[in-house]
């Protein structure tokens, strides 16, 4: 038997609301299955299980808040036959979990008059809406539950007060700048060949299958990291831990509501088409608030692309415990010297923010060189 506990979905997270169970007692689960949805300041996150087994008991009811580490369910291993204590055990447990949830108490609902048509919402969302005097029913769409993020975005749009996501970013970034001695490197990359190659590939494709330069750049970063793995990993216990998996966290803007950097997991196993499909899927799910726990906890490096906003170069703040961030600016027409001839080319500034405890400028320089080389031979990006 093992317990499945509320995972930490970021250094700043203390608790989260268990919104919905995706499994019931007796269900068989496999490693990687989404078993519940929780609500955090980052939005609704699908949490996954990391073992195979059978859901023996569910300990925390839906719509209740639980601290990080609180046992949420008991999982029986597949080889552990049906436990002998089951007849007595499960019945009692089922009763207790209904009667008194072992989690932090629910927000009192008694002061909420029971309306004929109750708007589904999380206790946190309900509390926040009450504080702010926002009608929950005004946020409910198609009878779906109202989440905290919706209430907060409503708040942001009507006042200048900070939302939960802004506070989470503030904490992580303060910690980063206080703890990480950053170094910054920048290089201009001639993107003419790579863009030309991409345009030719895209001409053969339908509009649905077009590949964006953003996906090409992610693929190039992944290939460069395979050559310079010291930038892919974590700084923990005063030491650099390189990661075999390359899980680039992609900075995705939520427009008015902040920024999330969920990961494309195991990008080293993808070709350019799979990278593009994974990127599309990730952006759509980020903006609709449906990320998985592994995607927001297992980033090994961050990629920020601010070119769409017209920014020329990005000097990013590393997300701890990661050790590097790659920034891409706008691809623009610029004078480019090649030998003794001068021409106009598509040029982009690539930057690297590195953690100086983990690596030196030499490593960062090797990475940017490698990235440049790869982008000059785009056929290798497939």
């Amino acid at each position: 038997m093992s317990t499945f506990a509320m995972p930490s979905l970021g250094a700043d997270m203390k608790s989260a609301v268990l919104m919905e169970w995706k499994v019931k007692e007796g269900d068989r689960v496999s490693k990687g299955d989404v078993i519940a949805e929780v609500e955090t300041s980052k939005g609704v996150i699908e949490i996954e299980i990391f073992e195979d087994g059978i859901v023996e008991k569910i300990l925390v009811p839906e719509e209740s808040e639980a601290k990080v580490g609180t046992p949420l369910a008991i999982i029986r291993g597949l080889d552990e036959g049906i436990a002998a204590q089951e007849p007595a055990g499960s019945d009692v447990a089922a009763k207790t979990s209904e009667a008194e949830p072992p989690s932090t108490p629910l927000q009192p609902v008694s002061d909420e008059p029971i309306e004929p048509k109750r708007v589904k919402s999380s206790p946190l969302a309900r509390k926040k809406a009450k504080e702010l005097g926002i009608e929950l029913s005004s946020l409910s769409k198609d009878d779906k539950a109202v989440h905290l993020a919706q209430v907060e975005s409503k708040k942001i749009s009507s006042t200048t007060a900070m939302g939960g996501m802004r506070q989470a970013i503030a904490k992580a970034m303060s910690r980063s700048n206080a703890e990480i001695p950053h170094y910054y490197l920048s290089t201009a990359i001639n993107m003419t060949l790579a863009l030309h190659w991409l345009e030719e590939r895209n001409q053969e494709r339908t509009i649905e299958d077009r590949i964006l330069p953003a996906a090409l750049l992610i693929r190039a970063v992944v290939l460069a990291l395979q050559e310079v793995p010291q930038l892919n990993g974590f700084w923990m216990d005063d030491d650099l831990h390189m990661s075999e998996a390359i899980n680039p966290g992609i900075a995705i803007s939520l427009r008015k509501e902040g920024l999330v950097t969920p990961a494309i997991l195991n990008a080293e196993q993808m070709d350019i088409d799979t990278t593009m499909r994974s990127l599309s899927d990730l952006i759509i799910r980020t903006r609709s608030g449906k990320l998985r726990s592994s995607e927001i906890t297992q980033q090994t490096i961050t990629i920020t692309n601010l070119g769409d906003l017209g920014v020329e170069s990005v000097y990013g703040v590393i997300y701890p415990p990661q050790v590097a961030l790659v920034g891409f600016g706008r691809i623009m027409d610029a004078p480019w010297a090649d030998g003794d001839s001068l021409s106009v080319r598509k040029v982009m500034q690539a930057t690297l923010s590195g953690d100086h405890r983990a690596t030196d400028g030499r490593t960062g320089g090797q990475f940017l060189n490698k990235l440049d080389q790869i982008l000059q031979t785009p056929e290798e990006l497939l």
């Binding site: 345009e199 895209n202 001409q203 509009i207 077009r210 964006l212 803007s253 769409d308 017209g310």
Partner: protein, 80 residues
């Protein structure tokens, strides 16, 4: 399709893909991506949706001709 109909279809698709935007925010002569914070990914989704609605897929080489709402309307009128 008239220019006005095409314009409505485009606005509907922009609002569908970026629901945070209000119809009043759409300035017909402003750069769509920069004024509305539409990134290249959402821009491609808008063009994909429009290719289904209007039947014209804008090739990448023509992106410069569809940068504002008015330019986009002109482009679709010209190619329909």
């Amino acid at each position: 399709m008239t220019a006005e109909e095409i314009k409505q279809i485009i606005i509907t698709q922009i609002l569908e893909i970026a629901p945070e935007i209000n119809e009043g925010d759409v300035d017909p002569d402003a750069h769509i991506q920069r004024s509305l914070e539409i990134d290249s990914f959402d821009f491609l989704r808008i063009l994909t949706a429009l290719s289904k609605e209007i039947g014209i897929a804008v090739p990448e080489a023509d992106y410069g001709q569809v940068d504002t709402l008015n330019h986009m309307v002109d482009y679709f009128v010209k190619h329909s």
